[in-house]
Symmetry: C2
Subunit: 129 residues, 2 copies
Amino acid sequence: MTIKEVCEKYDITADTLRYYERVGVIPAVTRTAGGIRDYQETDIAWVENAICFRDAGMPVEMLIEYVKLFQEGDSTIDARANLLKEAREAIVEARKKYDIALEKLDYKIGRYEIAQKTGVLTWDDQEEE
Amino acid sequence: MTIKEVCEKYDITADTLRYYERVGVIPAVTRTAGGIRDYQETDIAWVENAICFRDAGMPVEMLIEYVKLFQEGDSTIDARANLLKEAREAIVEARKKYDIALEKLDYKIGRYEIAQKTGVLTWDDQEEE
DNA sequence: TGTTGACTTAGAGTCAACTCCAAGTTGTAT
DNA sequence: ATACAACTTGGAGTTGACTCTAAGTCAACA
C-alpha cells in the first residue's frame, strides 16, 4: 500500500505519516527497492494504533517510548504493560472531564432552548450568566 | 479571592488565569482600587467554566467567541446556543474516540497480563505485535 | 527517452496554548 | 518608614504536534 492510499484510508496527511515514522511513533515502514514506502499489514496496524491512541490524547512521546520498548524485545513486557496502564488511566481521567463538560453543556443548552421558546433567559443563583 | 487562591482552588497557574483574561476566554476580572485582581463569585464561575470546557478540548478560540457573544447581549442567544451545540458535538465525537482507544488498550493490557503470568506473549492474526 | 507526477529527505516554519521575563506597583509585616 | 513578597503589564519564548519547503529521486506513460 502506498503512502497515498494509507492517507486516504485513515484521513491523515502524508507529512504526518512520515513524521510518525521519523520520530518513532511507528517503526520503520517497509520500502520498495527504490526506497519508496510500501505499507504492509503490520505497518498499517501500527499506523492504525498510533492514530487511535493519538485521537485519545496519548502523547507522541508515550507512543515513541512504547515502540522503543517493543523493539527491545520480551524483556520489556512489564514496562510496556505499565506504560499502557498509565495511558489507560490518563484516558479514563480525561473522559471523566469530557462527561462533566457534557453535563454542563447540556444544562446550558437546555437553558438556551427555553430562552428561545419564551424569549426570556433565566438563570439560577449558581450561574454566572 | 486573590489570583493565588484561585490558582490553588483550580490547580492552574496565575499565568494561565491572566492569559485567559487577556485573550478573552473569561471577561475582565473585578479589581481592587490598586488594580489587583479580586475574583468575585461571578468571575470564579467564568474561570470554572473555562477550565471545564478547556479540559474537554474545547478550543480557546471558541470560548473567546462565546464570551464575546455573551457580552453583546440577548440578541446573540441563538448564536450562543448554536456555538454550544457545536461544542457538544465535538466533545461527543472525541469521547467516542476515547472509548475506542480504551477498548484497544484493555485488549492489549489483557494480553500483557497473560504474558506476565505464562511468560509467553501470544497475539492473534489481527495484531501487529 | 523524456516528461510528468508522486515519491524521498533534512530541516525550517506554523499554530495553539500556554509560560516566562523584565520592569515596575501594591500591600503587609516589622 | 522600609523591606519584601506578591501583584501588575506587555511582550518574548517554549512546547507539542504537526506542516511546509527545497532539492532531489523514482516510476509510469507517450
